[in-house]
């Protein structure tokens, strides 16, 4: 039995690609041919993006970092705070609880959608399924709709006599719980909304990636007698490695940055059961008049997210 080919659809390239070789200028054909510049070309291509990002992201971010060292209400002149805002964050037990909530959300925002996305892709990605277009549109719908709408719709669904309880009754588990008011269930309830929201996104990302996988690999696998599950494990999954990394990054970041859904649905309630750092930042910046503190929290959150993102990139072995 021949070995099932691992690797991401590269039928002719060895799987473990070492560092990409430098682009070396080839022997010029004619007298006027110029060699490819060494650092010039990449930077030239990157120039427009860099200009945009520096002007509209990096500078405001630096500005935010600067603000984090002040007590500022957004209106009157601020006063120097030094590291006071940061110290307050590290000392505040309530703030630490916020990050715990974010971790819980990672399960719902990342694990479940990625699994769902993979499942849907394996069903929709390659075989001709009747009504494929319709399925793909419907499954993407949650992503396409404004978050405000999503949140309001789910608020109605989680109400005491909302759809969720109606469905539970159908299944025989009668419930009069208003889920968003439960100290135990509000956070998972919000998490499920994230799962619902992001599954479509993951599906779309994986569908794009699966187009790239060489069908010859699937044929080879089938010839070797691989069933659907083996095909998935040995051809699809490895082939989707780049998209998986992107999806993982996006969803984990979404979990850590989550704000919109919580803001519209529960404002962090009941009590602080669904409070997340993104909400705390928003409230401090826009309502409480604590812009410096909001900035500091944003910086801390950014560092955290950055570390997680770097970790994911490292684990997924991208660009090695």
């Amino acid at each position: 039995m021949t070995k099932i080919i691992h690797g991401g659809g590269r039928a002719t390239v060895p799987p473990a690609t070492p560092r990409l070789p430098r682009i070396r200028p080839k022997r010029p054909r004619g007298p006027a041919r110029r060699p490819v510049a060494r650092t010039g070309t990449p930077l030239l291509f990157l120039a427009p993006g860099l200009a945009l990002v520096v002007a509209f992201v990096v500078l405001p971010v630096l500005h935010t970092l600067y603000l984090s060292f002040f007590h500022w209400d957004g209106v009157t002149p601020g006063s120097w705070a030094g590291l006071a805002n940061y110290r307050a964050i590290l000392d505040d037990p309530e703030l630490r609880a916020l990050f715990t909530h974010s971790l819980v959300l990672i399960v719902f925002y990342a694990a479940i959608p990625i699994a769902a996305g993979l499942l849907l892709t394996s069903l929709l990605g390659r075989t001709r399924v009747r009504g494929m277009t319709a399925y793909r549109v419907v499954l993407f719908l949650p992503q396409a709709v404004s978050l405000v709408v999503v949140a309001v719709a789910w608020q109605w669904m989680y109400a005491q006599d909302g759809v969720v309880n109606q469905l539970l009754s159908l299944a025989g588990a009668h419930s009069r719980t208003a889920w968003l008011g439960s100290f135990t269930w509000a956070l998972p309830a919000i998490g499920l909304i994230g799962s619902w929201l992001l599954s479509g996104l993951c599906m779309v990302l994986f569908l794009a990636g699966v187009q790239r996988i060489d069908p010859a690999l699937y044929d080879a696998a089938r010839v070797d007698g691989a069933g659907a599950w083996q095909e998935f494990r040995h051809v699809t999954l490895p082939g989707l490695r780049p998209e998986l990394a992107v999806a993982l990054t996006l969803t984990v970041v979404a979990a850590l940055r989550s704000f919109d859904v919580v803001y519209v649905l529960t404002k962090g309630g009941p009590g602080t059961a669904t409070s997340v750092p993104g909400l705390a930042i928003f409230q401090r910046a826009f309502t409480n008049g604590q812009v410096g503190s909001a900035a500091a929290l944003a910086v801390v959150l950014t560092v955290l997210i950055f570390m997680v993102t770097a970790l994911i990139t490292r684990i997924s072995g991208e660009g090695r």
């Binding site: 510049a37 650092t39 010039g40 930077l43 030239l44 120039a47 860099l50 520096v54 990096v58 500078l59 630096l62 500005h63 600067y66 603000l67 002040f70 500022w72 209400d73 957004g74 209106v75 009157t76 002149p77 601020g78 608020q155 989680y158 109400a159 005491q160 009069r176 719980t177 208003a178 889920w179 968003l180 008011g181 439960s182 100290f183 509000a186 529960t266 404002k267 962090g268 309630g269 009941p270 009590g271 602080t272 409070s275 409230q283 401090r284 826009f286 309502t287 409480n288 008049g289 604590q290 812009v291 410096g292």
Partner: protein
């Protein structure tokens, strides 16, 4: 053309330094404040003022107040064809987030609706004009009772009660106890005349298997309305008002306030409030009350139109009676949102004249019907029995000067700190002492 990376960095850093230097926090860009002449105008003067356009912004996006404003603007423009009023409104939430950005622009709106937390952002940056001369000239000071007037005075947006007048309002709103007349009488009860009678009634209703107080607290602020309604039963309202004003040395962490918090917690424990209140939308609870679920509903005068429609003559309203029979009750209430005049407005005098027009007794029929509770004792009540009861209760409170403003006016961060704590309180997750401490420390952080 080879661009070295180092020059990229250098350029970025220079840019950053320049930007940062230009934007040290608090240096709000925008022109100097234009001191209005502060003169009161007569009708003739306005008619002869030439073509003027006033811009106005508010957060009345739904309901009666929205249509009333449009109506009043139309009437005004008809009366003074040389004046055009351009009105734009934004949802309450979005408005609050962006109002100080809008007002600090180079040409801000002439008139802007602002509640106390919003004023707290606008006043200290000099974005609002002082209305003192207009108060004097148009006699606005006589219009409002002192319990309401206190919060309209401030020099720094932090401490209220002293300083110049910053805003002027058409009417007020208040919180009280709506009740289902039929449900009450079916249970053999009558409108309580003391607080103890009220609590006894709650007990009777509960034992007979009905819901005593309807409430939907998902949005978090309704529980605060219940608390502030109960507070004067245990605490002298005057220190509470001082505390809301930000007066130094006042505190929320008092035995009286904690007793009020305890009462709220007890009501939650005893099942006087719906078990799922924290997960129910305020609108849904109001709809449920309209369907007859719940004997009482402690909410605001803005619901009276809805209840008049859903319960008809069955809806009633009273303010929570005090301990001692015959004494004065202290309902929660304040202005249904004042307007400020921009300090950069070139037409401040005309704007002030317009404000006077909006709130004049001549317009009280329109405004009262829209939901603004009138300061004019002679204003007619809108149709609908419960509306009449609300207006009567309001006029009483104005006459007695017994209103207590909303607790979350005490600090910008107060809502975000107190409301979730109350959710925990009624669910039994927090003790009154903890809530009082949280509230006071939020206050102290802001006012110290």
């Amino acid at each position: 053309m080879v661009i070295t990376f180092r020059s990229h960095i250098l350029a970025a850093m220079c840019g950053a330094a320049l930007t940062l230097a230009a934007c040290s926090p608090g240096s709000t860009s925008g022109g100097k404040a234009v001191t209005p002449s502060g003169s009161t105008l007569t009708s003739d003067q306005v008619a002869k003022a030439g073509r003027v356009t006033l811009t106005m912004t508010d957060f009345e996006t739904a309901g009666g107040l929205e249509t009333a404003l449009d109506q009043l603007i139309k009437n005004f423009e008809a009366r003074y064809p040389n004046i055009t009023i351009k009105r734009s409104s934004k949802d309450f939430d979005g408005y609050g987030k962006t109002i100080n950005l809008a007002m600090s622009a180079d040409s801000p709106p002439d008139l802007a609706e602002a509640n106390v937390p919003m004023a707290g952002k606008l006043i200290p940056s000099g974005l609002t004009a002082s209305l003192d001369r207009y108060y004097a000239g148009y006699g606005w000071e006589r219009r409002y009772p002192s319990s309401v007037l206190q919060l309209l005075r401030s020099d720094n947006g932090k401490t209220f009660g002293t300083g110049h007048f910053w805003g002027q309002a058409i009417g007020g709103n208040m919180v009280g106890v709506y009740y289902n007349k039929r449900a009450l009488s079916e249970l053999g009860l009558k409108v309580p005349s003391t607080f103890d009678e009220f609590q006894d009634a709650l007990d009777v209703i509960r034992r007979k298997g009905k819901l005593p107080i309807q409430m939907g607290n998902l949005e978090q602020y309704p529980a605060n309305h219940v608390l502030s309604t109960v507070l004067p039963e245990f605490s002298d309202p005057r220190p509470v008002r001082s505390w809301i004003n930000g007066t130094a040395g006042t505190t929320f962490d008092t035995d009286g306030n904690k007793a009020a918090l305890q009462t709220l917690a007890d009501w939650g424990k005893k099942g006087y409030l719906p078990a799922q209140a924290n997960g129910t939308r305020d609108d849904d609870a109001a709809a449920a009350f309209g369907r007859g679920e719940g004997v009482f509903d402690i909410t605001g005068s803005w619901r009276s139109v809805l209840f008049a429609k859903s319960l008809g003559d069955n809806a009633g309203f009273f303010t929570l009676p005090p301990r001692a029979s015959g004494a004065v009750g202290h309902p929660t209430g304040w202005l249904a949102n004042p307007f400020v005049i921009s300090s950069k407005s070139k037409h401040a005098d005309i704007a002030a004249f317009f404000l006077d027009y909006l709130s004049s007794p001549a317009n009280s029929t329109i405004t009262t019907a829209a939901g603004y509770l009138p300061f004019d004792q002679n204003a007619p009540a809108p149709a609908g029995a419960v509306n009449g009861e609300v207006v009567a209760a309001w006029k009483n409170a104005v006459r007695n000067d017994s209103l207590v403003p909303y607790l979350d006016f005490a600090a910008p961060a107060m809502g975000n700190a107190m409301f979730p704590a109350l959710q925990s309180l009624i669910a039994g997750k927090l003790q009154p002492g903890q809530v009082a401490k949280t509230v006071q420390s939020t206050w102290a952080d802001y006012h110290s």
